[in-house]
């Protein structure tokens, strides 16, 4: 151990660089993992909060789910409640925004808290609630009037901002730069020129009823509709997130490969440096195992130090990442430190470091004791 300790202290710079190489790989892994767990949790919370039911019904087009059909669905056995909603893109001036049409009783599902102002109380009326991001972007405050255009056509309407709130239903905003404007359901239908139609409905089933059965029933009553379980929606969200995570993890692999290469190279140079001393030790009675242990221990020290440092850097990086993601305004992932992930990254650093020392260790154990005399 002292041999290893002094060897590391002797070549400070190389040792520090090796540890940093491992730490950077581990840090990337840890921060992505934390970010991914946080984002998944946030996304799941949002979906669960936004979709106050187990089954989601979409039409074929953008907003072609008839409220009459919803009334039929509500009468189906096992259905407790049906929540209609409109979610389309529109414009406030030249800015693309999401227009969300909901009933007053459903506002609690899409808004977590009001920064200022209040919610609307009727199904219609020229009122709107802006989300904090949009209000900041457009400099909106309670009492301001905004002109809103639907995605198609040249019609427009004016609404008064009666509240500025934090909108939880932000997962849909991935891929769009704007914010949210919440309108009373009827106002949204009138703006789109589709009275009596919504873009989606969330169906809550009775306790003890299998949501799958309700899903099948809805498909029969409303043929041509897209009916999904909430878990399927979450699954799709997670699938997209997994794809992004996969791409990001491949970057981590590059980082880890660099760490492995760095460790191999450092231990190889250590072995080369101590070639003569290895021969001396072998001549003095040390076994191949003793020699292997010395250099594997050195690699393990790099792995452990790099792993621990990487976890610290990773958590710091994740914190920064979370702040960046939150600043975009669509997700507010919590910082969740999953012990298994941290343990996995630490184990990964330690094991990979030891594995990366196999080739130089093999070289070290192949040094014959007689070399000590040949180098005289």
């Amino acid at each position: 151990m002292k041999f290893v300790e002094r060897d590391i202290l002797f070549k400070k710079l190389i040792a520090v660089l090796t540890i940093l190489a491992i730490a950077s790989g581990v840090a990337t892994f840890v921060s992505l993992r934390i970010l991914s767990i946080g984002s998944r949790t946030a996304a799941m919370n949002i979906v669960q909060q936004v979709l106050p039911g187990e089954v989601v019904v979409y039409g074929q087009g953008l907003y072609d789910v008839s409220e009459d059909v919803l009334a039929d669905i509500k009468r189906l056995p096992g259905v407790k409640d049906v929540t209609p909603a409109i979610l389309v893109t529109g414009y406030v001036g030249r800015n693309a925004v999401f227009l969300l049409g909901v009933r007053p009783e459903d506002i609690g599902n899409v808004v977590s808290k009001f920064e200022s102002g209040q919610a609307f109380t009727s199904l219609s009326g020229p009122y709107a609630i802006a989300d904090i991001g949009l209000a900041k972007k457009l400099g909106l405050k309670v009492g301001d009037k905004v002109t809103v255009k639907p995605p198609y056509g040249t019609s427009f309407r004016q609404y008064e901002i009666i509240g500025i709130a934090e909108v939880t239903m932000k997962i849909e905003e991935i891929g769009a730069a704007g914010g949210y404007l919440i309108l009373p359901l009827r106002e949204a239908q009138n703006l789109l020129g589709r009275p009596g139609y919504v873009s989606m409905a969330v169906v809550k089933v009775e306790d003890g009823v299998d949501p799958n059965e309700v899903k099948s029933l809805i498909s029969v009553v409303f043929p041509g509709s897209r009916v999904m379980l909430r878990e399927e929606v979450i699954g799709i969200v997670f699938k997209v997130m997994s794809l992004i995570e996969g791409l990001l993890l491949s970057t981590t692999m590059v980082g880890l490969a660099v760490a492995v290469f760095g460790t191999t190279s450092t231990i190889t140079s250590t072995v080369r440096e101590h070639q003569r001393e290895i021969a001396i030790m072998r001549a003095g009675g040390s076994s191949r195992r003793d020699i292997a242990l010395i250099f594997m221990l050195e690699a393990l020290v790099y792995g452990v130090a790099g792993g621990l440092l990487g976890i610290v850097f990773g958590i710091m990086g994740a914190q920064v990442g979370i702040e960046i993601v939150a600043s975009y305004g669509f997700l507010n992932p919590p910082l969740i430190l999953e012990p298994q992930s941290l343990l996995l990254s630490f184990a990964l650093a330690s094991i990979l470091s030891v594995l990366s020392s196999i080739y130089p260790v093999w070289r070290a154990t192949s040094i014959r004791p007689v070399e000590v005399l040949k180098s005289e």
Binding site: K2, M281, R282, G284, G285, S287, V370, E376
Partner: protein, 298 residues
């Protein structure tokens, strides 16, 4: 119980290249008794280091047997040989060969730990005593770079001595030391041999060391003798001369010089050599040719 610390029986070492076999040791028979200080003398390339490596179990002989402290180590597995080396054989090298990352004390402790029979505490106690014996008390925590050459060699001797081996093999132990340090190290070696009864074999080409020996062996051309070889360098010259006919080499040399003379003259004609340099070279060459011609005429 064997009285012999080291026995080499008809030991051969033959190195094989792609095209030929080079015998370095040719049937060495050597017995060093317990408590002896044996010196093996020989010039470079005589095979003394090979002999040492085979005697110390660092290399296997091509043929023959090596017995250390009564144990035939010739056909032992690598693991067994490693253990035997740790317990029965100590080495001292010309370049001290201390581990630079370890202190003097840790260097001496190292072979004790490798034997696998001592605890760290025991190893530390023994190492401290050994350093005291070689006169390095108070230097225990120093690293090799903080010690002089002589002190480093004394640490190396303490290291070799620590596991109480049957035999200590030394390869040119004073080769890297100044005269004063060398004499102190040699006195220590002699004292250890006499006071501890430690069997020591030294290979060297330094005839002064032979004064310490209980017995001296001479190695020449892969063979070992107990008497100094009688053939001198003058005898070798005579041998070479006898292998050629009289005047034959001189005639050859004369021919070569004449060819060089022609080449120089031709180079001068082509302007490849500056005339003043050519003039001096031609004079020197003509003088050498004249001297050789006179010699051949005689």
């Amino acid at each position: 119980m064997s009285e012999d610390a080291l026995v080499l029986r008809d030991v051969w070492k033959i190195y094989k290249t792609a095209t030929e076999e080079i015998p370095v040791l040719k049937g060495i028979n050597l017995t060093v008794r317990q408590g002896e200080l044996a010196i093996i003398m020989g010039p470079s390339g005589s095979g003394k280091s090979t002999l040492l490596s085979i005697a110390g179990g660092l290399e296997n002989p091509s043929r023959g047997n090596v017995i250390v402290g009564g144990v035939d180590i010739t056909n032992l597995s690598e693991d067994e040989l490693t253990k035997i080396r740790a317990r029965k054989i100590g080495f001292v090298f010309q370049s001290f060969n201390l581990i630079r990352n370890l202190t003097a004390l840790e260097n001496v402790m190292m072979p004790l730990i490798f034997t696998g029979i001592y605890s760290w505490k025991q190893a530390r106690e023994i190492a401290q005593k050994m350093l005291e014996i070689v006169g390095l008390k108070g230097h225990e925590e120093k690293f090799p770079r903080q010690l002089s050459g002589g002190q480093q060699q004394r640490v190396a001797i303490a290291r070799a001595l620590a596991p109480s081996p049957d035999i200590i093999l030394m390869d040119e132990p004073t080769g890297s030391l100044d005269v004063d340090s060398a004499s102190r190290v040699l006195s220590l070696v002699k004292w250890l041999n006499e006071a501890f009864g430690q069997t020591i074999v030294i290979v060297t080409h330094n005839p002064e060391i032979a004064e310490l020996a209980s017995r001296t062996f001479y190695i020449r051309g892969g063979q070992i003798f107990e008497q100094p070889p009688t053939a001198t360098l003058a005898d070798k010259v005579k041998e070479v001369k006898a292998s050629t006919r009289k005047g034959e080499l001189e005639k050859l040399q004369l021919e070569l010089l004449k060819i060089k003379l022609d080449a120089l003259e031709s180079a001068a004609r082509e302007g490849k050599i500056r005339p003043e340099i050519l003039d001096a070279e031609l004079k020197s060459l003509e003088a050498r040719i004249a001297r050789l011609e006179k010699f051949i005429e005689k």
